[in-house]
């Protein structure tokens, strides 16, 4: 792809994700907020595609957008009526939140700009290809260095625990 078009696309995606994020935290209705979140997550999947992490993008869409957001939607359905509008906090809260957020942005951006990153040998990512699924699969299933069987299994147990916990907590008594 042409680098310029690439850049334009990236900028569009970036702006979209920021705007959607803002909308997600400020929407009046919960359902809309969840939808905006879904869009943000899809934008993120787009970033992963830009980074040539195709597998990651697929996971992002399927788990996040497909699983988590659906959970959100169910929870919203279960806990609110159709015309519910989110109640607002007192005004000071927004001020303090904004203060923290802006302060954080300022400090982080300053650090970002000031810091000189030590890049690897392929700074421009030209010719950087997506990672083979076979490599990923072997890395997940191996026990060597840079292979992740143990975290994978631990995670599976965590998910099991989350399933059981979720059922236990949410079931009617």
């Amino acid at each position: 792809m042409d680098p310029i078009i690439n850049l334009i696309l990236f900028v569009c995606l970036g702006i979209a994700s920021i705007v959607l994020s803002v909308l997600a935290v400020s929407a009046k209705r919960l359902m809309r907020a969840a939808t905006y979140l879904l869009l943000v997550l899809i934008c993120t999947a787009g970033f992963y595609l830009f980074l040539n992490y195709h597998f990651l993008a697929a996971v992002q869409v399927s788990v996040y957008a497909g699983g988590v957001v659906i959970l959100f939607l169910f929870a919203i359905f279960l806990t609110s009526n159709e015309n519910d509008v989110l109640r607002r906090h007192q005004a000071g809260r927004y001020l303090w939140g904004a203060l923290a957020a802006l302060g954080g942005i300022a400090v982080t951006t300053f650090a970002l700009v000031k810091h000189q990153f030590i890049y690897g040998d392929n700074q421009s990512m030209v010719g950087d290809q997506e990672i083979d699924m076979k490599v990923i699969g072997e890395a997940l299933m191996g026990t060597e260095k840079y292979q992740y069987l143990l975290p994978f299994e631990v995670l599976s147990i965590l998910l099991l625990a989350a399933i059981i916990g979720g059922i236990l907590i949410a079931r009617k008594r």
């Binding site: 302060g103 400090v107 982080t108 300053f110 650090a111």
Partner: protein, 651 residues
Amino acid sequence: MEYSLFIVVIPFLLFLFLGLLGTKLKSIVAGIIGTIGMGICAVLAYTVAYQYFFGIGKTNGEWVKQIPLNFEWLRFTENLHIDLGVLLDPISVMMLVVITTVSLMVHIYSLGYMKGETGFQRYYAFLSLFSFSMLGLVVATNIFQMYIFWELVGVSSYSLIGFYYTKPSAVAASKKAFIVTRFADLGFLIGILILSFYTKTFDFGLLTADHASLVTTSFAGGTFMGLSIATWALALIFMGGAGKSAMFPLHIWLPDAMEGPTPVSALIHAATMVVAGVYLVARLFPVYIFAAPDVLEMIAFVGAFTALFAAVIAITQTDIKRVLAFSTISQIAYMMVALGVSGYGDHEGLGYMASMFHLFTHAFFKALLFLGAGSVIHAVHSNEMSAMGGLHKYMKITSITFFIACLAIAGIPPFSGFFSKDEILAAAFHHQPVIFWTLWVVAGLTAFYMFRLYFSIFWNTPKSPKGDLVHSASLQGVGGEHHKPHESPAPMTIPLIILAVFSIFTGLIPFADFISSDNIPFHTHIDWTVAIMSIAVAVIGITIAFMLYFKDSKQPARIAQAMGGFYQAALHKFYMDEIWMWVTQTVIFRYICEPIKWFDRHIIDGSMNGLAWITQKSSAGIKGLQSGKVQFYAWVFIFGSIVIAALVLFL
């Protein structure tokens, strides 16, 4: 001799037993247990006395101190440690005998006197506590142990005076006794502290050893307000003794203490506790005479004044127990005078011996007087002299024993009081004529008021309860006319008889062989000049009393009229209570307590309240942080991270 410890311990165990379990027992059982325990103590005390005086006590013709037991109780520093132990020397052994005897008599007597009273077990528990404290006091090996027991004695006295705690006057009297003696004890404590600060010891043995050289050297001539510090310390210690022994002007509590049950008055306020002051001075006598003779001089004058003062008041009182109370004050003052006029060693120390002798004899005949008075009160249900009269034909035993006691206190030979009083007068005669003549007058007054009492109770005919000068202090009305008085039951009369025997014969003991100022026996002989003078004045006193009070007559009232203001003043105890009231209310409360109160309320409390206020406010502020609000926590966390990150970045 280790078993002498049991004399002290048994009453304490009795106190615990009766105090904790007494209510579970039938009252008479509790009384009998207490009496038996006291009886064992008495037997032990007599055994100790026998062993000491006829066995191990004397070495090379000198009575030596025996310390069968002594253990270190609290050690604070090298020099400052408090020991507890048992010290046996002539005076402590003598006191053991006196206390256990009188206490046993009172225990037996109370079986009859207190019969049917509520709190009978409590009464016996406190009697045991008192016996324990008093015995612990006399066997103290060091001045601090003495102080501890001294205060215990005060406490048990307080509880016994306030035995009828539902009666406001008894409560007031117990408070008064406690506060006045406590006030005096403050002086005692300060005196102890000064003394031990310089001498680095509490121990009686070290303090008095070798002509009290430790005290005379260690103070090294320090002076304070023109008097040596040793003088101050000893004067303050005497203040404690004066409080307990009711010396002027700290005597005011003793007459009021008569609100307690009569046997208690006999035990505590006549025979034992009130002589604790005398005992204290006697215990420290070498210190007084070598380190502070001025204080001894002062003691003599205070004692002489108190003796006269109390005797004059005693003449006018109508409540028989109060007469006896003032008589007690007067007699204790006698002992104090004897100590005050005494020298050291051999015949010079006659006063010391006489004082202890009088203490010994006085304990018996005064206990007898009180118990006799209790017997009379038991019969007529009144304390007022005017409600009595002509009781001789109803109460022969009480009457006769009372008569013996009166003769003893008046100093008629061969009764015990004569010998001891004669020694005191002789000691005073050789020392200081003013004091001698004062005491001589007091002896006459004593004879007069005692026989006034005796004749009014047992011979005169009863006056009307509303007779002139009667302040109806009787509690249960006047029962004299309503039912015939009768002799008290055997538990009450037996102690009277025993004590009467003691009152007759104890005077014949050659006391100087046992007790002397330097612990070396010497021989006394009756100084007939003095003896005849004292007998003469006693006889005069008795005769006047006989003429005025043997038969009902208008004479006493007429004399009282003639005396006018003086009589009124004496009747009101020379307004000492009012003076003290004025001193405390007006002077101390207004000019000392009020500012202190203000300081306490505003500065002390203020600072404390301020602290509390600050704490409260800051906690209210901090409390907001612990709100449990997740978002607030998150905000604080984020903001903190930002600040730290910024600090790391920019600094």
